[in-house]
Amino acid sequence: MSARRVTDTAVGIVLVLTFLAPVYWMINVSLQSSDALLRTPPAWFPADPTWDGYVEAIRTQGSHLLTSLVIALGTVLFTLLVSAPAAHALARFRLRGTLALVLVVLLVQMVPGIVMANSLYPVFSQLGLLDSYAGMILADSTLTVPFAVLILRTFMSGVPGELIEAARVDGCGQWRTFGSVVLPVCRNALITAGLFSFLFAWADFLFAVSFTTGNTIQPITVGIYRFVGNQTTNWNGVMATAVLASVPAAILLLTAQRYVAAGITGGGVKE
């Protein structure tokens, strides 16, 4: 019995290592010199590691990483401000049209991103939102708000009704009750929604490439895309940038794994 379990673990480790080989390769390449990359057979391990790739990554892509950080944080803030009250209302109030709203939210997620890009472009052009942080935050929020509403609503409908009743009896208004009872109880759900909103905005490429020209701001995904498209590219620099752009995902996985599973099954959505 225990022998079988050990075998299972061994098989599991082999499966994971095989599956994650591309991630290993990204790290391996990021630590090699550009000359080493043009050798065949390739160096399987970074035996002689160098930070050249990272130096180039920071030099050429550092500002784009910052741009994405600002956009992602802005998206988290906007998303939570808009979604949390709405989720509470959809979970608790018996308002006419609630089901219709939930359906709209579900449908938003199913509309292909290219359609959103195509249709938002003229609107953004009119409103002067192209090449701006505000525009990117609003565009990315079309991805994150529906997701956050759905996941928060599921959690918020689990808040015991007695808690809310008690606050109401004490004379709290709806908003006060929401702020001092519902939000604290739903802290974990808010973290989950916030983390995923960050990741969605951070990883967005379609809106970034559609709504920025690179003149003023350029998110990191577009930075990598143009970096890769450059024929004389140093791949150690590209892979170092890729590693840096993966940091939020890695942090999310290491610190909040249980929220990740909840996020996938709760909203079930990714671009």
Partner: protein, 322 residues
């Protein structure tokens, strides 16, 4: 999602007493609407309005000038006629179908295999399963860039390994040959999609009672028989959801193809999504781009409705108490 909330609505969502409505009801109802208002306004402005405009744009002739002068004449079905008669239309539809079918089937089979494997309990199973989520969390552009270097004809590790194992004689031009590019894109996309299938199918498997397996084992059923007679039938609803969502998401894959091939070489990887992008943002013919997008909407909508139908009951029980 469904199980958790179905459980909680019964105890949790007791809305404030009905009797109050008569007295302060009007004001109270207004206050409640203020909770929904920001989201409603946001969705109206940045979803409903643009998308309905997109439907219109499909019937308009857009040029760069339309953005400045605002004039985009209605041209009826011209955009659609042009699309359908464009030789690229058939190519894009076929590529989209192949890309979707190829990605979906392998993602599903591998994801199901892994989910069944991780159904057993063994040391580190939780950690290992968690690590498998990584490809799903990475920005697609990052994965695309990694695969692009892996696929490199001269120095990519894939060709080096295949040559080393003597599986091929000459390096394969994965991304620069019309013969291999679509396959290469599909393989990369499978890698990205497996974790999604794994997570959903694994949570579905948790709901299958262990006693069923024990009873079947007592009756002498082998592992394969237990899988076919117990696991698959009980997993049917979850499988339907995974495949439908997977289909909707795969239809709109953009990042991976753009980074790997940009739709090339010679349109070998041009899908409806990348074509729509090229029409709008490279040729600035937003009318045609919108038309292709609308075709995508219709396809996605059909499957979205199927999906909503399959989760309808759980929605109703949550969304409108009573």
């Amino acid at each position: 999602m469904t199980t958790a909330s179905a459980k909680t609505t019964k105890t949790g969502a007791a809305p404030p007493r009905r009797g109050r409505r008569g007295i302060g009801g009007g004001r109270e109802r207004l206050v409640r609407w203020t909770f929904v208002l920001p989201m409603a306004v946001f969705l109206l402005l940045f979803f409903c309005y643009p998308v309905s405009r997109n439907l219109m744009m499909g019937f308009q002739q857009w040029t760069v000038a339309s953005f400045y002068e605002g004039g985009a004449p209605f041209v009826g079905l011209d955009n659609y006629v042009e699309l359908v008669t464009d030789p690229l239309f058939g190519t894009a539809v076929l590529n989209t179908a192949l890309f979707t079918a190829g990605s979906l089937s392998f993602q599903f089979v591998i994801g199901l295999g892994l989910a069944v494997f991780f159904q057993r309990r063994f040391p580190l199973s939780g950690v290992l399963r968690g690590l498998l989520l990584l490809p799903w969390l990475l920005p697609l552009v990052v994965s695309g860039a990694v695969f692009r270097w892996i696929y490199d004809e001269g120095f990519g590790v894939l060709n080096q390994v295949l040559l080393g194992l003597r599986l091929i004689q000459d390096p394969i031009p994965w991304l620069s040959s019309t013969q291999y590019a679509l396959t290469a894109a599909v393989i990369a996309n499978i890698w990205v999609g497996v974790p999604f299938n794994l997570v959903i199918l694994h949570s579905g498997l948790q709901a299958v009672p262990a006693s069923l397996y024990e009873a079947a084992a007592l009756d002498g059923a082998g592992p394969w028989q237990r899988f076919r007679k117990i696991t698959l039938p009980l997993l049917r609803p979850v499988i339907a959801i995974v495949l439908m969502l997977g289909l909707i998401y795969t239809l709109k894959v953009f990042d991976m193809i753009m980074v790997l091939t940009g739709g090339g070489p010679a349109n070998a990887t041009e899908t409806l999504t990348t074509w729509s992008f090229a029409l709008s943002f490279e040729e600035f013919d937003f009318g045609q781009g919108a038309a292709v997008g609308n075709v995508l909407i219709v396809i996605a909508l059909v499957f979205a409705l199927l999906y909503l139908r399959s989760i309808r009951d759980s929605l109703r029980s949550e969304g409108e108490p009573r």
